[in-house]
Symmetry: C2
């Protein structure tokens, strides 16, 4: 591992956030689960430590988690995305915010229903301005597979962001949990990754499988980083 | 091959259309290249027959090609999509229209710039109404690889459409040229495939490769069709 970070996972008691937290903690990062309910996050952290048998995992409020972290990861439902960002905004200055938000609109989650601007994550970058480097990633990685530590996750990570160095950090964080991150262009390109998730859900339903994913073909075998 | 079709490829003198035409002709389908310039299409067809050494390929105007075909494929640039559809509209009734349009906005083709409704192809389905079954497909398949008959194309085809039977026909047409088509939901889901193309272009530039593509992971080994 290139570097050890303190990673706050807002929405860390959910499926996707919990899966990422589990794997980053296993890889040796310091993980702080954030939740609207700090006690719930603390309990989830205890459970995660028991599962792992080791690892530096704690749980607290979203705000405290974001404040203590080097890197903040957003894995809350779309409906809570903006309010969560507003809540922790003061703690984000100068940090990388990895936003895994998918703009699913229940109940039709297998149907692409993008926001009017195209990308839910690009909208957050616009709101936060240049003092926070927002990177879009992990939208297509199945929580089902992330949580099962007995196998590797067969999925690439589309990494979009306006700051190439921040993207590169996220590519490295993906590699730390065995995932190949791929530079996928500016933050507006996140629209593709977000929309793709509804297609993956449609495929899960059609083909009766728990978690489809994607692989990028045609890249150099050893990816230049 | 399940069935032999007469396939009109509007924009068949272009890179993507030409690549699909070449492979369908090789597979034994009757292919008619369409172009605004019928003479240019006829010349391209002669050249294609010479390349193949066999095959039923002809070329004519877009309108005549669409009229003679069982299935019409649209591979014109985004700027010509709507006018081409309007031109051949009367010939489309009751047919499947496979629309491979990607809403690229030059010069920033590596940047996702989706139409306000999200999907360029869904907008065509809306225009044409229910008498034409529009299926979105082939947006992510590299023309570079399609035109090189010496190797298989390492890319899946996201197939979106409101009519499952029409989608299934397109899954079959993809299989005829060695590509795996995957049911990806209703026509609005085409937004994801369209946006993804800009990401693939961004990757081609970043990693200096001629044609990235995608594979869907986690599907059953033998896909139910």
């Amino acid at each position: 591992m290139a570097q050890t970070y303190t990673i706050a996972i807002l929405g860390g008691t959910g499926q996707e956030g919990g899966g990422l937290a589990l794997r980053w903690a296993k890889a040796g990062h310091r993980v702080i689960l954030g939740s609207r309910d700090g006690a719930k996050a603390a309990a989830a952290a205890m459970e995660m430590k028991a599962t792992l048998g080791a690892g530096d995992v704690s749980g607290t409020s979203n705000k405290d988690a974001a404040t203590a972290a080097d890197i903040v990861v957003l894995t809350v439902p779309f409906a809570a995305q903006r309010s969560t960002v507003e809540e922790v905004r003061d703690a984000l200055n100068g940090k990388i915010l990895i936003d895994a938000t998918v703009p699913l609109v229940p109940p039709k989650v297998a149907r692409v229903q993008l926001p009017s601007d195209g990308s839910a994550v690009a909208a957050i970058q616009k709101t936060l301005g240049e003092s926070v480097r927002v990177v879009s990633a992990f939208q297509n990685v199945s929580a089902h597979h992330l949580k099962d530590l007995s196998h590797e996750v067969d999925c690439d990570v589309l990494v979009c962001g306006d700051d190439p160095a921040a993207r590169e950090t996220v590519v490295g964080l993906a590699a730390d949990i065995g995932l190949r991150g791929v530079h996928a262009g500016p933050i507006v390109n996140s629209a593709a990754a977000e929309a793709l998730t509804s297609i993956l859900i449609a495929m899960n339903m059609r083909y009766k499988v728990p978690g489809t994913g994607i692989r990028i073909t045609g890249l150099p075998a050893e990816q230049p980083r």
